[in-house]
């Protein structure tokens, strides 16, 4: 994991060294405002869990971090860079598609429904992006993919197609696929919500392992146990804003806000 940490930092750094810093982030779909001014920060090496009821904007915010959604207001910095824009004087200039793609390469993402490429084997799923966008040589990418598969407990299953794997196995391949790009930040969008209960553990174990290795992670989840055990900070969101945040023991154990209390009383 050391290689992921000693990447050259290019360009200007935000003064606060945060990996993710959101200030007043807003986003609307049509006439509906789903993010109403999100303030949030994630320090390098930290695991942050976003909790809250469905429709509270957690997943939308996560998708804003790697610019799968564009924000309508506020500022969102990732690794010292403004997401999707470049500031010149008092104007924001939209980034070119190639620049957006280049930024995304530094951010891994894991989806609720895995989104593995069904026409490629597990190994090809992992080597595809490194070979295509990072121009890694095929043999090297394959060797690295074997190591990653080993790491997520799927050594030797590289030849299987996604349809031949269980949900838990697919999600672990998806994590390995994201790691193959050697990201500086990993986003998890409800990674265990589509899994049968008995398969949740194997995915969470891989994520815990990743957290121990110092990966910076933002995790949207309903797994309170995971948040309590692994997270450095939890952010409780409701109706497009962050209602309260802090250390997991504090937010989950003795929540201050009424909405947090109401939510936790239902899920715990």
């Amino acid at each position: 994991m050391a290689t992921m940490m000693d990447h050259e930092r290019d360009g200007a750094q935000a003064p606060d060294e945060a990996m993710v810093r959101a200030t007043g982030v807003r986003k609307s779909f049509g006439g509906t405002e789903v993010l109403k001014g999100i303030d949030l920060h994630v320090r390098p090496g930290e695991v942050s869990c976003l909790l809250g009821p469905s429709g509270s904007g957690k997943s939308t915010f996560l998708r804003c971090i790697n610019h799968l959604e564009t924000i309508d207001g506020g500022r969102l910095h990732v690794d010292g860079h403004l997401v999707g824009y470049r500031q010149r004087g008092d104007k924001l200039h939209e980034l070119k598609a190639s620049e957006v793609a280049a930024r995304r390469r530094e951010i891994g993402m894991v989806f609720q429904r895995f989104n593995l490429f069904p026409h490629l084997t597990a190994l090809q799923n992992i080597t595809h992006a490194p070979c295509l966008v990072r121009r890694v040589r095929k043999e090297q990418a394959r060797a690295e993919a074997e190591v990653l598969l080993e790491r997520v407990g799927l050594g030797g299953r590289g030849g299987a197609y996604p349809a031949q794997l269980s949900g838990g196995q697919q999600q672990r391949v998806a994590i390995a696929r994201a790691l193959a790009m050697k990201p500086r930040l990993m986003l998890f969008d409800e990674p265990t919500s589509a899994l049968d209960p008995e398969l949740v553990g194997e995915v969470l174990d891989v994520m815990k392992d990743l957290a121990r290795d110092g990966m910076t992670m933002v995790v949207v989840t309903h797994e309170m146990g995971f948040a309590r055990e692994v997270a450095d900070s939890v952010w409780f969101m409701d109706d497009g804003i962050v209602v309260e945040h802090g250390e997991p023991a504090q937010v989950l154990g003795s929540p201050v806000h009424e909405r947090t209390k109401a939510f936790l009383s239902k899920v715990l």
């Binding site: 998708r63 790697n66 799968l68 598609a97 190639s98 793609a101 280049a102 995304r104 390469r105 951010i107 891994g108 993402m109 989806f111 429904r113 989104n115 593995l116 490429f117 069904p118 026409h119 595809h128 992006a129 295509l132 966008v133 197609y161 349809a163 998806a174 696929r177 994201a178 790009m181 986003l187």
Partner: protein, 310 residues
């Protein structure tokens, strides 16, 4: 196919009751229908076989003549070239129609609207008589007299080239819709995953979306190919040198219209049958790993469906 399956099912069921005899349901209606169909078919065959105007001997004489085989060759060539133009162009137009660029979208929509909105026969005649619109084809800087290329239209666009242009450009419009449907059938999550990995939109389209869309695109494109093979006969109106043109040229001199049309029909049937078998195997290949196994229609059904389309 289904009839044999169900009767086999009945028998399997009957054997399980080993303590008592089970009488399967008799399908008397089917027997009656089969008898009527057999009678009608036999009388039609007999009337065709005995009809002296059909001259089956003449059909046999002409079936493998040089001019017929040359026509068959041109028909196959037209089909292949037009489908190549149509498929490649169709992918381009489909991607343009789904582009974020409004100019590309508008151009592609206009193209599909025009080429699907006018009859193929009209388009074929149009290209055949292109010289009536432009005597010379000139390529140069617009609104000046500087030309890089300057040739007579009739020298370049002969009947075969006109046929290729008409069939190919028309096919692009239809193929574009097929490809567009295939692309839209691919799960949006695939796009999210590709973009999140840092692929550009065009890389995602080429390496992730289109390969998956193939499964949806291939079967209708097989149908398009079969339709195209038969549509090539339309180019006879501009003397496109295809199979129908070849037999028309001969029967306009010797008046053996029916035998020569039967010769052409037999060749079309044979070619369509070959394509139908090919399509069956293509579908099997691209359907791999999707849906429950064994639900594919049988080869015989596929072949009959292809003929019905003919």
């Amino acid at each position: 196919m289904t009839t044999t399956d169900s009767t086999q099912g009945d028998r399997a069921l009957a054997t399980r009751h080993d303590d008592i005899e089970v009488v399967p349901l008799r399908h008397w209606g089917r027997w009656a229908a089969a008898a009527v169909v057999a009678l009608l078919a036999a009388s039609l065959m007999a009337s065709l076989a005995r009809n002296p105007n059909l001259e089956w001997g003449t059909v046999g004489d002409y079936l493998f003549r040089d001019f017929v085989l040359r026509g068959v060759g041109v028909t196959i060539m037209l089909t292949v070239v037009a489908m190549l133009i149509g498929t490649v162009g169709g992918v381009v137009v489909a991607v343009m129609r789904l582009s974020a660029n409004p100019v590309l979208r508008a151009v592609a929509s206009l193209y599909v609207w025009f080429f699907r909105g006018t009859p193929l026969l009209v388009q074929i005649i149009f290209w055949g008589f292109l010289a009536a619109l432009y005597q010379r084809i000139q390529l140069g800087i617009p609104f000046t007299d500087l030309h890089v290329i300057d040739v007579s239209t009739n020298a370049v666009v002969g009947p075969v080239v006109a046929a290729i242009l008409a069939l190919g450009l028309n096919e692009i419009a239809y193929a574009a819709e097929v490809v567009r449907g295939g692309i839209l059938a691919v799960d949006r999550g695939q796009d999210d995953a590709s973009l999140a990995l840092g692929l550009t939109k065009s890389q995602a389209m080429r390496t992730i979306t289109l390969p998956q869309a193939m499964r949806v695109i291939v079967p209708p494109m097989g149908n398009e190919t079969i339709t195209m093979l038969k549509s090539t006969a339309l180019v006879a109106v501009i003397g496109g040198k295809d199979l129908l043109t070849a037999v028309q040229t001969v029967y306009s001199q010797n008046f053996k219209v029916m035998p020569l049309l039967v010769v052409a029909a037999l060749w079309y049937l044979a070619l369509v049958s070959v394509l139908s078998v090919g399509q069956y195997f293509l579908e099997r290949r691209f359907g791999r790993g999707h849906g429950p196994g064994g639900s594919q229609p049988g080869l015989a059904q596929r072949w009959l469906a292809g003929r019905k389309g003919a």
